[in-house]
Symmetry: D2
Subunit: 243 residues, 4 copies
């Protein structure tokens, strides 16, 4: 575990300890040398460090032949390309999984919404968070709306029907043509609801993240799956079996 003393790191350590098929062999944090890890001792490293450290960590892990599961944010297109090229040069079967979101319910909600989008005339997104959140709408809601918009465009759908003439400030943000509403409420943590409508019917996909523990099933799944997926994988949805 890299970033073992952070809040996510400690939670991951507990989850790995509790998993019968996994063994926690090392806890590193700032100041520790990732290059000291070897593929003899370590199969998979999990990185929840900081944006300034994660990229160097991953390159060191690839050099050592250790698979990596990365939840740290701050990755750019360039840094992803750099890892992809490094993996190509290394030529082995090392896998790296970069996942901005390890919440299974969030990842599945996003994917199902995108799959369903082409079959519905209307769609809107509501995200609900605790009131300390400074940005709106949430990154997850933006991603969801963008994926929905792409699916609708691909299917040749135009804009959803909307006769609004007055009161646009109540109609939410426009993300690629999809309306996204942000609710801030004491007591909530992180939630998303996608509403899809046709004449006489509605499909609602809702996900609730109540606490940090919710990311653990996704992290454990990533650890188990990354060893079977050489190269770079971006997004937890790409290690799910949804056939």
């Amino acid at each position: 575990m890299l970033g073992a003393h952070g809040r996510m790191g400690r939670t991951v350590c507990e989850a790995v300890d509790a998993a019968p098929d996994l063994e926690l062999v090392a806890r590193l944090d700032a100041g520790d040398d990732v290059a000291s890890l070897t593929s003899d001792a370590v199969d998979v490293a999990v990185d929840f460090t900081v944006p300034g450290a994660t990229e160097a960590n991953v390159h060191a892990l690839v050099d050592a032949g250790i698979h990596a599961v990365v939840g740290t944010t701050g990755w750019t297109d360039e840094s992803r390309t750099s890892v992809r090229e490094h993996l190509g040069r290394a030529g082995g079967d090392v896998g790296v999984l970069l996942a901005p979101n390890f919440g299974l319910s969030a990842v599945l909600a996003m994917r199902f919404a995108a799959q369903a989008a082409r079959y519905f005339e209307s769609v809107e997104v509501i995200e609900l968070h605790h009131p300390e959140k400074v940005d709106a709408p949430s990154g997850t809601a933006r991603h969801t709306a963008a994926a929905i918009a792409a699916a609708r465009a691909e299917a040749g759908l135009g804009a959803a029907p909307d006769a609004t003439e007055a009161g646009w400030d109540a109609r939410g943000a426009d993300v690629d043509g999809v309306r996204v509403h942000a609710v801030r409420l004491r007591g909530l943590v992180a939630h998303e609801e996608i509403l899809l409508g046709n004449p006489g019917e509605q499909l609602v996909i809702r996900q609730d993240s109540f606490d940090r523990a919710s990311f653990m099933p996704g992290v454990l799944l990533g650890i188990r799956e990354v060893v079977r997926r050489p190269g770079l994988t971006v997004g937890l949805e790409n290690v799910l079996e949804l056939g």
Copy 2:
């Protein structure tokens, strides 16, 4: 029934016909003379006509000593005052019920939200309608938010917590300091959801109006209650027994 040939009028006629304790004695529409009705033949008149006719109808009914249940919109403070004074001069036990909304679920949702508001740190309103609606947020949602805001002010509550720095367009309309979001979705009719939050808990009050039939229980209740309430009553909530 005044306005008996309109969509609401026909639905009311059917509902009254189906009610074992009520009898439908007359159906009037544009061109018919309201003054022809007498309190010997008619106990209660229901008015779903048009803004240009409803005020004159009500005055004629008061003159005839007939109770009135009015769902027609367009009433101003002045026209309400005029009816109240007329009832005072008439001096009898005639009752007039003016109700902008006969949906029991909508009226109750609004009232419960206002009652609960003083006990929660956060509150937001989401209204959801069919995509042909031209204004946002809905009148019902505006009323609900205003009633919530008044209750919070009376209880000495300040603004709900909100750390939003960027993305205000996703945060809905501001109605007296309460955030109101409007969703437009094919398949929906008229729905409202009030979310109230405290640390570790949430209260959600939701109402769904699926079709015009939903107003009938409220209209029948109004007919049965108006005969026991001399003078002017504004709002169906004021004939409900919520003790």
Copy 3:
């Protein structure tokens, strides 16, 4: 359209009339001869007739080289096999689509629930219908629970955690090990909610069918897709593109 005078038939005729890419060329009902139809005049026949007639209709359509979209219930394994063999003997590119449910939201909810099931510790199903429904739980809810149970078994999941010692009558029906609850409420039509839970997170998939119009997008989709799918297809989900 076969069964053109029934409630579903009339609604389908209206929907086809309103679709710019489709033309309604014949309306048949009881007494009309399906064998009079020819593939010169008719591309696709839609059958919403009765269990006693639908199987003969489909065989006649296959003989005539006309694609068929069938929403009539009452099909057995034997009658499906018979059609499959007939199509095989005929050897052309005729497609037959048998779909017990044309509601896109219902079909998608069922499929998403089955896909997600392997990733969650807990899952339960709630179906909600109008109070005139005589059977519980609904066929759709049974199918959903069975599909969920199959997916869990395939993934090696055991029973969902449940410490209930007293009060089993409140815990719903057991369908292949999945708890299914049936709500009956005036005002509702047909709705289903699947709740999936992991530590700290929940995924909810809900679908609402508000009226018969809700089946039309699915019927039109079936008409457009059946011409590209020779042989027998069972279930609308199998003509959806969910890649």
Copy 4:
């Protein structure tokens, strides 16, 4: 604070410490002598102890002239009567508030459901809890259903419509004629949903208790209100101002 070292006790101490208008003057637990408290030093005592101790505690507090807010369970009709008589004999203005549930959202949901019940043809209750819960349905859901049933009976309503012929095991438990469904799902804590239906409309009242912190606003409210309510008050709903 009596029971200051228990989980609820510690949470209450933190909440009182954080409230600007309240001061925490003593923390007692098993072994400490309640009789050592005096009304000079203490205005209000909060009791989250154990069923075997709470009744004696309350009598000692009444003797000392100290108001009491009690969340401990195990109170019988007899023990409540005994406290009521003791308060009568004491003759002062001491108030005792016994509350089985300090969750404002739960208490309000129950009360609103009972108030609305007389105006709807159908009503059902769904409670949702974590899968470690051993009894079903929950005490809160039973109370809610009983209050709904009493309100319906008082208003002269008969049974809700229900044509169910087969599948009663899916229809939930019968509590005074009201159907109550219990869902057990990993990730959830304690939630209740009351669905009320009329032709064409639905009212849903839902409450979510996400963690123990959710009881604190109710406890603080009880502390502030009990000093103004001499005698015994049972139920937090009776100190709410819902006018």
